[in-house]
Amino acid sequence: MSTDPQILVQAICTLACYSYLIKENFAYRIAEYTLVALYTSYQITRLFHSFIKPYWQNYAIGEKQYYFILMGALGLLLYTRYAPPQYRWLARYPIALSVGWGLGGAIARSPRPVFTQLMDVMRPLNTANNVLFFVFFMAVMSYFFFTTGKESKFIQGSGRLGRYIMMIGFGTAFGNTVQGRISLFLNRLSFLLTDWLGISI
């Protein structure tokens, strides 16, 4: 068994979490509340030391880019949400600026990966797999084609095929998700047995 205090704490945390599988208990609740608290504090520290402090020191003070002070003051308006109701609307200004900046980026950048994928769909129909891929793609697209969905027998039929194809897609996603979680579980199990208890597997 390991005598490293860090490994001991890791093992206690892991076992406290898994104790929930028997029933909800004191150890699990402590683990749950600890994770919420530590993660929040970790993110605050990370943001402060990765953005606030270097940006302030390098740009606002170092490069004398004084608009950083104005933007910082605007950012502080976010806290007016906790002020009396007559001042709360001030929080909308930093929200509007950051949402707008993000939206502009999304409008400009988000079509590119989708069009790249669309280009990949247009494969030459020279192999059975390429033909199948195109047929499956069109079938799934037709499932979401509601304009003549009820009237056209063809759209109804291809929509049904599209539904089957989507279920295959969901099945693969389900299988991969379950296995991803199981591999995480095996990783924790391997840690408990090998790193903590020293049993080689």
Partner: protein, 220 residues
């Protein structure tokens, strides 16, 4: 003033960023040697919204402070949460930050194992939920279950032992690869395009001021 100006600001910022992204000389405009205008505006916006970093701390304090004040059920855990929250935040902010040995020791000893164990527990919840809710009633559910089964077998060595990759159709592993590359990829592409069109429409609604809920309640 309270709603109209923020809506106009959203539109103007959207337009500004869009122009920066689309017009290359504007994107690469140097305000001084090695200092790009776009990067400075981008950094200043990041700086602005990072100023809200203490909102999580304030919200947790308000929620759990109320629980303690009113002695609600499990209030003692809220006391623990606030002690850990402030203790770790003070350690991170004032005693060495991300390079601090104590800060990183706690991160490795508590956050990393708790985080991965919480996620690994989902394996049990997914299995239990699937057992309770998943019944094969029609062709669709049969397809989903068979495919999930094949994908799982194709990923593990047990599947390879039952039906090896050297045998007909490449065994479970070969079928899994085909399922992922053809029907799965085709369905994900089609769904992805639908999702993109919906999301793009939502983005345009917000940018044009047709969608205002992100600005918060109408009572203030």
């Amino acid at each position: 003033m309270k709603r109209e100006v923020p809506l106009a600001l959203t539109f103007l910022m959207t337009l500004l960023r869009f122009l920066f992204e689309m017009i290359n000389p504007l994107l690469n405009y140097e305000i001084s040697e090695g200092v790009m205008l776009f990067s400075r505006i981008s950094f200043s916006v990041t700086f602005m919204y990072c100023m809200g970093l203490f909102m999580g701390l304030i919200n947790l304090t308000r929620v759990h402070g109320n629980t303690i004040k009113r002695r609600r059920e499990h209030w003692i855990y809220s006391v623990w949460l606030l002690i850990v929250l402030y203790g770790y935040a003070i350690l991170g902010l004032f005693f060495g930050g991300l390079e601090s040995e104590a800060f990183n020791w706690i991160y490795d000893a508590v956050i990393v194992p708790l985080d991965s164990t919480m996620f690994s527990m989902l394996a049990f919840f997914i299995a239990s939920a699937a057992y309770r809710a998943f019944k094969i009633r029609n062709v669709e559910s049969l397809l989903m279950m068979v495919v999930a089964f094949i994908v799982m077998l194709g990923n593990v060595s047990l599947g390879n032992a039952i039906w090896g990759s050297e045998s007909w159709l490449g065994g479970f592993s070969g079928i899994k690869d085909w399922l992922l590359a053809i029907p799965n990829a085709a369905s994900q592409r089609a769904i992805g395009i639908g999702v993109f069109l919906g999301a793009y429409a939502a983005i345009l609604r917000v940018a044009l001021g047709l969608e205002k809920r992100y600005l918060g309640g109408t009572d203030w």
